[in-house]
Symmetry: C2
């Protein structure tokens, strides 16, 4: 039955089998309305019979779109980006695009290499995480005139179109929540900020908000940790066993906050009575730990979905209009934060 071709079966093989010209076969795919329904049927039968699969590479070469979109993320491995990647992938898939995915491990030079690689594949567009990129990357994108998009971050004056959230605001909201609860002795655990404008913006906003209230953070209450639950846990243990323990911990993201939570639990601290913890992100799982993690929610799924929709629109549009979309943050209060109690304050300094 199945007519197994040893040699490649291409559009002309189909044409021959259906007794038409290659042009007609091509048209059946690209402008079906221009070909007689009867002929179309004949052709479709031939396609079926031969097991023909269109060759996007050949299309691409002809100047048509490649049907691929490149996405370059710092890391795939961790909760944060997995969710955006999924949403972005689903979103572009709906309109027929495929996802070329690359990661650079927070190294902007590798990011450049990855973008270049994607450009070799003639992606129809390339999406990057964040707004901070090397000059070389910016130049590359500019020069090739490839549509580009920044996701995850929002800035009203971004050079690229963007879909994301305001990380400064996130930092401020988290700080204000702790401040409003009466905390004045606050510890900070953040990831490294170079090449990571998300963390950078959050942290600087935290400092500003703190300063505005006249609160300062002693050095030993400020800790830097890589992006992993276990390493954050270690860092938190160190910080929490300092001379004077803070009454609250503000963490650069939810992964770190989870690490801090586990650290506190392993030290026998009661959360939130002995220590309040707030994260940023609201990743999958943050709602489910015990107690539930208070956090500033960044709507990863919405960002990914919206980014996919708007970007494919942009790419396929005749006269594309640049856009900037700011996704709403939301303060999600769960069980890890509470009022800075007298007892708690008394507890510090021991």
């Amino acid at each position: 039955m199945a007519n197994l071709q040893k040699g490649r079966v291409d559009i002309v093989a189909v044409a021959k089998a259906a007794n038409v010209s290659p042009s007609t076969v091509s048209r059946t795919f690209n402008h079906p309305d221009l070909v007689n329904p009867a002929t179309r049927k004949k052709i479709n039968r031939a396609i079926q019979r031969l097991g023909y699969i269109r060759n996007r590479a050949a299309q691409t070469m002809h100047g048509k779109r490649s049907g691929t979109i490149g996405l370059v993320v710092p890391t795939i491995n961790h909760a944060i980006f997995a969710e955006v990647i999924q949403a972005f992938s689903d979103s572009i898939d709906k309109v027929g695009f495929s996802l070329l995915l690359a990661s650079h491990g927070y190294d902007l030079d590798r990011e450049y290499a990855m973008v270049r690689k994607l450009l070799e594949h003639r992606v129809d567009g390339v999406a990057l995480v964040g707004l901070e990129h090397s000059d070389a990357t910016a130049r590359l994108i500019e020069q090739q005139k490839t549509p580009a998009l920044a996701i995850w971050n929002y800035a009203q004056d971004s050079s690229l179109p963007c879909v994301g959230a305001d990380n400064r605001l996130a930092g401020r909201l988290a700080t204000e929540h702790l401040l409003a609860l009466g905390h004045r002795n606050i510890g900070l655990i953040f990831p490294k900020t170079d090449g990571n404008d998300r963390a950078q913006h959050r942290l600087s906003a935290v400092h500003e908000a703190l300063a505005k209230m006249g609160v300062s953070v002693p050095d030993e209450h400020e800790s830097e940790t890589p992006y992993s639950v276990s390493q954050a846990k270690q860092a938190a243990i160190t910080l929490l066993t300092e001379q004077s323990r803070p009454t609250a911990l503000l963490c650069g993201n939810d992964v770190i906050a989870q690490g801090a939570l586990f650290a506190a639990q392993s030290l026998g601290l009661k959360i939130p009575d002995d220590l309040s913890i707030i994260g940023i992100g609201d990743f999958k799982g943050s709602a489910d730990v015990e107690p539930g993690l208070t956090t500033i929610r960044i709507p990863a799924e919405t960002i990914g979905k919206l980014a996919g929709e708007r970007f494919t629109d942009y790419i396929t549009s005749d006269d594309p209009a640049p856009f900037r979309i700011c996704c709403e943050l939301e303060r999600v209060v769960r069980g890890t934060t509470t009022l800075a109690s007298i007892g708690c304050v008394a507890n510090s300094g021991v």
Copy 2:
């Protein structure tokens, strides 16, 4: 300085700028040893100056490899696959391949569609998760003679080359651990098994191991839940508030086990004294929850890395030899399991 071309800059533009023929430029990329070092230098300068970027689509069309590998996973979103994807991506990147990623949400028909889509892009190979796929998918791969690989699962008689672990063994090991600790009243929480041979194999092995010891699981101690911490938590709460509570919970994967852990904690149960919990997978984070999750470790990173290496070898080899690699499982005993105590047994049935 930068010679911004408005029109596309292609290999002939470079050739012109370097005063050589296009063939020579092409050779500079593909067989550098065949071209005079001096000429090569001239050409490289021209490439730099014009900002030329190779067009893989055109290469592909010529019959060369496309330099892309397709990976189709059930979901990107969750901890399990994120880790393999990362390792696989890094691994193939090292030898110059790019990753086309697609997900199907545990729907084998969508899997077929995704594979087809990747084939249109003329991927040099396609990697699938698991060994169970629709006939259509198998036929497609067979017919197109595209190298294919199954990752995550291992079976000595798999039809595709595979790199993965033995899920039956994983199920058995988990069961035996609980049994060895004296547990006889065991609850099971697993994901749905259709279109998911990992879960299927694990669950059937669990039942076999249990039966061998004459242990049976009453219906109300067997629960099915989607793949999410929060839903697993719900399911676990339901199961744990049954008439007779089991002394141990065996979970189909670590995400479910985490949900179960949080459920138990929210019910005020002491882990592991009141209830032992074991998972399968050892995902990122499993080591860090409090107490640490006992689990059967599936080495996701090793699988991804190895799969990438072997598959690219296979693809680039002149006479590829099929292979099957079984990655070792490891029992990781942490804090969520302990001996079935008298007290614990007495506690049940209440």
